[in-house]
């Protein structure tokens, strides 16, 4: 037997990326998993090199980032790649989740895969954002959040202040908790330092969870566009799907190169090029684009505690999809009502993203509130209702 199939470690590799039988009808929408793996590897590599030149201290953080940009050989490429791949990471995550929702990939027997994925999403939101916070002088979202703080610019500081302050909404011990996280009475040197530490640590936790995601996936194998078993028609992962994955990976590299070399600050905020200043509040504090929908949900509820609960709830609610989807049919391919509902959900998400970037004036506040209500209603009412109606119609049609 070939070494690839008999060696204790190589046969693991073999059963995941060489001989693993995959449904022959997978479309390009199944390529986001490999793209996300590429993103994670790029982020860990560029992050390690950035950390060699970055100084997690309020007095030096901003200047050390400028040092990376100007003095370190090719440092600007490393930093711009790290900052922009973070955005692509979220684009791919949202597409990956949308694919899962559209094709019912969350349904039994893949509930564990879906649940681990949701935990990965929450961790990304929570901890990646420490990075940019460390780059300015101040801090913004947890891995994304943690990363945003690292440059310690104005948006880093004030983003961190706003986001960490959310925890003060917790009754009784909220304020104590916030001060514990800050390591002081405001976002300070201690905060920057620990955010940097967590921002470095958590991607490895994320990598471990991604492996768990894969292990759970390989128990039952991938879903496919038709939503029925594909055991009768499969291709081995290599060569067909390996090369198909490479098509989108190279397309990603092409687009990433264009952005890094020609529009590196397209997705960033100009305020983060102003060193953090605790005495000056920016005109408007805007999170990174990928957090805007959740920021809009937070702001649409006047009560601070309920707003914080709604924001975290909007992520956790993904977990109930396997229970809420009552339809007997997996995926939307043969369910026109669900297709329409899916696209309404996508548009609602985009509207929330737009509202999150606007000042809280009328009519933006009202649109945000309606969109938030729709967001939750989609999971709790619309999806189960479509399932019940479909099942009932099916029963009536097949009764005779």
């Amino acid at each position: 037997m070939r070494l690839l199939k008999s060696h204790v470690l190589l046969r693991l590799f073999n059963s995941y990326v060489v001989d693993s039988p995959q449904p022959a009808n997978l479309s390009y929408l199944w390529n986001f998993g490999s793209l996300l793996a590429v993103c994670l590897i790029i982020q860990i590599l560029t992050g390690a090199f950035l950390a060699m030149h970055y100084t997690p201290n309020v007095d030096f953080a901003f200047n050390s980032v400028e040092h990376i940009m100007r003095d370190v050989n090719n440092g600007w490429i490393v930093r711009y790649t790290h900052a922009n791949v973070a955005s692509f990471f979220f684009i791919f995550v949202y597409m990956h989740i949308a694919r899962g929702i559209y094709y019912g990939s969350y349904k039994s027997p893949r509930v564990l895969v879906w649940s681990i994925g949701t935990i990965i999403l929450i961790l990304m939101m929570a901890f990646l954002n420490y990075g940019p916070k460390c780059t300015n002088t101040y801090f913004e979202n947890l891995i994304a959040f943690l990363g945003y703080v690292l440059p310690y610019g104005q948006m880093s500081l004030w983003g961190a202040t706003v986001i960490t302050n959310l925890l003060s909404a917790i009754p009784v011990f909220g304020q104590d908790l916030v001060e514990l996280i800050w390591g002081g009475f405001s976002v300070s040197n201690a905060t920057l330092n620990r955010f940097f530490s967590l921002h470095y640590l958590l991607p490895f936790l994320l990598a471990a969870l991604a492996l768990g995601h894969l292990i759970a996936l390989h128990v039952h194998g991938s879903n496919n566009p038709n939503g029925v078993t594909s055991s009768g028609d499969r291709y081995a992962m290599h060569p067909y799907f390996i090369f198909k994955d490479l098509v989108t990976i190279f397309a990603f590299f092409l687009i990433l190169s264009i952005i890094v070399f020609f529009y590196p600050n397209l997705l960033g905020h100009s305020d983060n090029y102003i060193p953090a200043d605790p005495m000056v509040t920016p005109a408007s504090i805007v999170p990174e684009w990928y957090l805007l929908p959740f920021y809009a949900i937070l702001r649409s509820i006047p009560n601070k505690l309920l707003g914080v609960i709604a924001m975290f709830g909007s992520l956790l609610i993904l977990l109930i999809l396997p229970i809420a989807d009552l339809s007997r049919i997996r995926g939307s391919q043969f369910r026109p009502a669900m297709k329409l509902a899916f696209w309404f959900f996508v548009v609602d998400f985009i509207i929330l993203m737009w509202i999150g970037s606007q000042h809280p004036n009328s009519p933006y506040v009202e649109i945000g509130q309606i969109s938030t209500a729709f967001y939750f209603a989609w999971f709790l009412i619309i999806v189960p209702a479509i399932g019940i109606v479909e099942n009932t119609l099916m029963d009536i049609a097949t009764e005779s």
Binding site: V8, S15, D19, P21, H218, F243, L246, S362, Y364
Partner: protein
Amino acid sequence: MRPTAARFSDMPGPKVYNLWWGDKTGTLRQKGITTYTISPYQTKTAPHWARNYLFNFYRRIGGELLFFGIPFALGYATYAWAKKHDAYMNSKAGHIAHGSHEE
């Protein structure tokens, strides 16, 4: 003992058709699963992609047009109306008509 022994009972059955961590039984020999192999010389990742992009892609996306066209049209209408309304509320005419309490 190999590290996967503890989970051996989870090996392929009616609901388990992929291998557990590096199982020795061989990937292609599970009951009820048909895997086709393509010669690397025959493997085409995107055959006729240019022609398909023009015709098949258009046909398939066109078939879905109603499902995403309606939501996106409504979403864009909301966006356009809100922008216009906000601009009006911040204009001189808007201030005169609705008082100046609006920001």
